[in-house]
């Protein structure tokens, strides 16, 4: 559709207007907006360009308009929301998209659970601290999942070279696990005394087998265990 439309525009607009939508800038802006995973203002998009080749805001705006136009007939759209532009699925697609999410949700990996536990017990911590404790590097995707879930947030930056973010758990995290404060989490001693029958299995393969183990865990352990834990603890 856009091709048709831009052909129409071609007839309407003076030539110099057209030239200004630099194809390369348009491609880069499109890529940035798709990857950002958050709304981006024209200014923020512009900042991504290296200083020496930074286009004018007007050029970025033109690129954004052109992209918006390109996607007008597709199932996603470039939309201006309060904090900037973002690619989002069109509303007419909602019934289909929601069917996708009605599927059984995937399981979190062992790595994610370990990271979450370390943040809960050792907060505020940097990613480096977590890696030190786990002895393994922590992927960005994993941190992003925790942040997206809003169980974890950045509460500041450590004033050391690189200014790494300091992570802590959120109120949502406490709510989810039905805790009124971190203090209700079992003590380290209690954790060490936890029956580890399930652990020994999962240690072998965090990948696929782990999921099955988690399934198994759920069946055998009831929520009451959780209450026991907090009771024992007081």
């Amino acid at each position: 559709m856009t091709l048709c439309e831009s052909e129409q525009q071609l007839a309407k607009l003076p030539e110099e207007e057209l030239i200004k939508v630099d194809m390369e800038i348009k491609q880069i802006v499109e890529a940035i907006l798709f990857v950002a995973n958050r709304p981006m203002t024209i200014r923020q998009v512009r900042q991504v360009f290296p200083e020496l080749e930074r286009p004018e805001s007007g050029e970025i705006q033109k690129a954004v308009d052109a992209i918006t136009e390109d996607y007008s007939s597709r199932s996603v759209e470039l939309k201006l929301v309060a904090s900037g532009y973002r690619f989002q699925v069109k509303e007419v697609m909602a019934p289909w998209v929601s069917r996708l999410f009605e599927e059984k949700p995937p399981k979190y990996s062992r790595a994610l659970l370990e990271t979450l536990a370390i943040i809960a017990y050792r907060q505020p911590v940097t990613r480096g601290d977590i890696e030190d404790i786990r002895g393994v590097s922590v992927s960005s995707t994993l941190m992003r999942t925790l942040l997206d879930r809003e169980w974890v947030r950045v509460i500041g930056h450590k004033e050391i070279p690189g200014r790494p973010a300091l992570y802590s758990t959120t109120k949502l995290f406490l709510d989810y696990f039905d805790l009124s404060s971190l203090n209700e989490l079992p003590t380290l001693q209690e954790i060490e005394d936890l029956e580890s029958s399930v652990i020994s299995n999962s240690e072998n393969s965090p990948a696929q087998e782990d999921n099955e183990n988690q399934e198994a865990t759920k069946k055998t352990i009831k929520v009451t265990d959780r209450q026991e834990a907090t009771t024992t603890f007081q």
Partner: protein, 270 residues
Amino acid sequence: MDLSIVESQNKVPPLAIVDGAPVVELPEDLYIPPDALKVFLEAFEGPLDLLLYLIRRQNLDILNIPIAEITKQYIRYIEVMKDLQLELAAEYLLMAALLAEIKSRMLLPRQVAEEEDEDPRATLIRKLQEYENIKKAAEEIGQLPREERDIFPVTADVSDVEIKKKLPDVQLRELLLAFQDVLKRTEQLSHHQITREPLSVRERMSTILENLKGENHLFFSQLFIKTEGKHGVVVSFLAVLELCKEGLIEIIQREPFDPVRIRTAVSQAS
């Protein structure tokens, strides 16, 4: 010590990058700074890698190794490293023994029948070839485009769409078991001491940092909430001490009797 083993070659890939500069050669002098040798040793992934280097360095074919010469060179390297008391993996010594064995066998008259089972020389050559192939493959895998560096999967936002996105469910017990696993591992792997302070202090540490966000400073007195009582004061106080210890905040008093303030620690590196 004789280090004539180090011959200069034209096209030698750098052994290592030290402070941005490639280290191409093992120093040819008799005196070797231990640091250089350490770098040298660290550049290798093990005895097979070192052997391959010695072979390639002299443009030899793997199938065409002058065992006696290579053994001599290899053992010399090992000795230098031992003399310098560099931590040497046992595998290096094992390889030295194997080379010595092959060398001695070759001095003996060849007994064809006996050698049919396992010729240690053939075994070594096969291993070197297999290792070299894997080494090349690993380099190529390292060059492949990969996520986080070259490949960025994209998604379109769905937050405007009225849907209930089902997210993975986690039981508290799963979380605790995962942490138990971490604790066990840290005890085994290192001397990491996970200190056992009450979590209320940790929680308060997060709160204080959060309150400091975007602020120049907070008054010390602002950190205490009267309604929390004595317990709350202790928790806040411990949190401040801990934050200070971990270098996350600074406690300042501009002059005597001035109110005590806390602020985010300033980078020491700057």
